[in-house]
Symmetry: C2
């Protein structure tokens, strides 16, 4: 485990404080384990408070010992939830014991309503301080990765490339999607994958992605992606199924892992024998789209432009109906940010007009879905630099062909 | 995949309607994917509405096709979120177009505050209908399992027993916790484990549990259990580490899996060679505590009584300081419900005074923590029947000894 220095975390807090000042908030109440890690370096249970200026504090329920070892900011044991507001008044008297109501941002997009209500009541205290939605602030902050973070994503990319190579060496006719995935996951786990790729969205689950063969990959699903997969049944209705892999059908391998908290996301298409003509052409089209996305991936380009360009290319190729899903199950994006979560900002989609910036890490995943036949495509992850994209994905970019 | 008949789901809805009537609510808005599956048989994306009387409806964003195949209740495509309230008025005019404000329960313990706020605004409509907290209602409903559900938990138990036996056959000195876990997980995955054990609590993650050797198992953690484990680093601070397993130290193997949506949870202690004297005695004490818990596990017994009895036994054995964690990191329960989630009700803890009932499925996990040395203990899962507990865990109940 490579652990960064304290400045890594303190500089993130500094950037959060800048945006708190811009937004006119008095502080940020951090509750999600992922954000706690991002800002303090420790994922222990508790709450962190980041004032607009001055030092942050991590109020820890458990383990206090471990938080003290890990945290870049001051740790205070939090004996009970009830003790929280009095401790804030003691530590931040200019905010919480000043007689005026403070405006505190928090992560309302992930914090459960019940816990939010409890915290809002606590924070209100005697002065009517309020908890407002700071989700966008923290998502925006996390869009820009440090060199340390990019290094961790590359470590995850290397593990994924190795595990994929090992597993596809064993790919053969009659192997199930589940068996191929189990083999990939074993390789990922042995290399330090924590076992899941964390997600921000409610009800979304990704452990290591999906392997989908033939028509099973093309089945519609609840999953907000171009290919969810058939899954193991109604209670696990995405990712792999027990379907056996046959000759001459596309095998979509959309996988990643999480190393030291950071995820990579990539897709390769494999086949035993060769792809049918129409699908081979669509695969080449996904390569063409990713080349164009790379060309556009410069600082200053609006994210949505990459999506618009891909839509246009798919249309020119006569593949609009198959691009990023099929029919009413098409998804409306080309790619997404990756980092501590797999569904980070920016999203390459209409409405995301903000310009790309150096340090953004983005998975770009052009795919074509053919109901009853399968899904083909490719996905690479990149970091945006001053000179354009640098690819983070380590797997060779090619159709994986098993004789 | 074994899929139950529609009556399985309709009878759950019927029981939910009974408790809605008791509580004076007009309906339940179901948002969590797990609850959607529990009540409709489908885990597709959308919202289900269960009125106090009459038919429920599943309003589906995606995939509508799949929901139509799976759902035991009527499916309506939900084109946009904005369309939701008008559709409710159309389908439930006596509730939503009656001029009076409706009181609708929802899962405020898992629903993010931001989504809750959006839904509350939608539901309010022109009549001021309100969304109230129905978390306890749905948790209580799910405490009592059907024969189908118990069968699925047993299927998960069988997979876990087989995977554990395969993996411990390869256990040897110098193997890492991570490598042993990767081997267990491979076996679980090949048997249909979906890859994680779903949890209800905010910030809680369990994929397959933990393997903890020697002092690494005894380290305090954020995890709300008697032994969280060292983990792979600050960004994954629980479960396995890369620590190598040595001779003569306890190896705590607290694992489970999720088959067809249902989880099992079990713990066995293993050792290469033999346990040191003090730890061997503590292990025997955990066996004695589970025997006493079995004796008490009769319908009508308050859940908290099992915890109180265990506390007393640990005290008599002079092991109070080591029971269920150590020092300020002790947890205050002996066991927990299992089902679609691993942290279900009832909890065997002070304050849970409700009597045990037939159909409850409970993991009982007496463990003793020795800082610097390790954790020993045992965990079995049971279903409460009229005649007492029936064990669901299939692994032989013994200390696993590798020569």
């Amino acid at each position: 485990m490579q652990v960064p220095g304290k400045n890594e975390f303190l500089s993130r807090i500094d950037r959060l404080q800048q945006s708190l000042r811009t937004q006119g908030s008095d502080g940020f109440l951090v509750t999600q384990h992922i954000a706690l890690y991002y800002l303090t370096g420790s994922m222990q249970a508790g709450f962190a408070f980041v004032p607009t200026a001055g030092d942050a504090t991590f109020y820890v329920r458990r383990s206090v010992d471990r938080a003290q070892d890990e945290s870049a900011v001051r740790v205070e044991p939090l004996p009970t939830l009830r003790a929280f507001r009095p401790m804030l008044e003691r530590d931040y008297p200019q905010l919480f014991a000043s007689g005026r109501a403070a405006t505190i941002a928090t992560e309302m997009d992930v914090l459960p309503a019940q816990t939010y209500a409890k915290l809002a009541q606590l924070i209100a205290g005697g002065d009517g301080s309020v908890l407002t939605d700071g989700s966008a602030m923290i998502r925006r902050l996390r869009m820009i990765k440090s060199p340390y973070e990019i290094g961790r994503i590359e470590a995850a990319a290397a593990a994924t490339a190795e595990a994929l190579e090992e597993a596809t060496a064993e790919l053969k006719e009659g192997m199930s999607e589940l068996a191929l995935m189990a083999r990939i996951e074993y390789g990922l786990r042995m290399r330090g994958h924590i076992g899941l790729m964390r997600t921000r969205s409610y009800n979304m689950e990704i452990m290591t992605g999906m392997v989908g063969a033939g028509e099973a990959a093309a089945e519609p699903s609840a999953f907000d992606g171009p290919a969810g997969g058939r899954g193991l049944g109604p209670a696990a209705p995405q990712s792999v199924s027990r379907r056996l892999i046959s000759r001459g059908e596309p095998i979509l391998i959309d996988i990643g892992c999480c190393i030291d908290g950071y995820v990579i996301d990539q897709t390769r298409t494999a086949v035993i024998g060769s792809l049918p003509d129409g699908l081979a052409a669509a695969y080449e089209q996904s390569v063409a789209i990713i080349r164009e996305a790379e060309r556009l991936m410069m600082p200053g380009t609006p994210s949505e432009l990459l999506y618009a360009a891909a839509i246009e290319q798919a249309a020119k190729a006569g593949l609009s109906a198959n691009f990023m899903g099929h029919g009413m199950n098409q998804v409306k994006f080309l790619g997404h940010g990756i980092g501590l979560e797999v569904d980070e900002w920016p999203v390459l989609a209409r409405g995301f007009a903000d310009p790309l910036e150096p340090g953004m890490t983005i998975a770009v995943e052009p795919k074509f879905t053919f109901p009853g036949r399968g899904v083909v495509g490719i996905e690479n992850s990149y970091v945006v630099t001053d000179r354009g994209p640098r690819q983070l994905t380590k797997s060779p970019e090619k159709l994986i062909v098993v004789p």
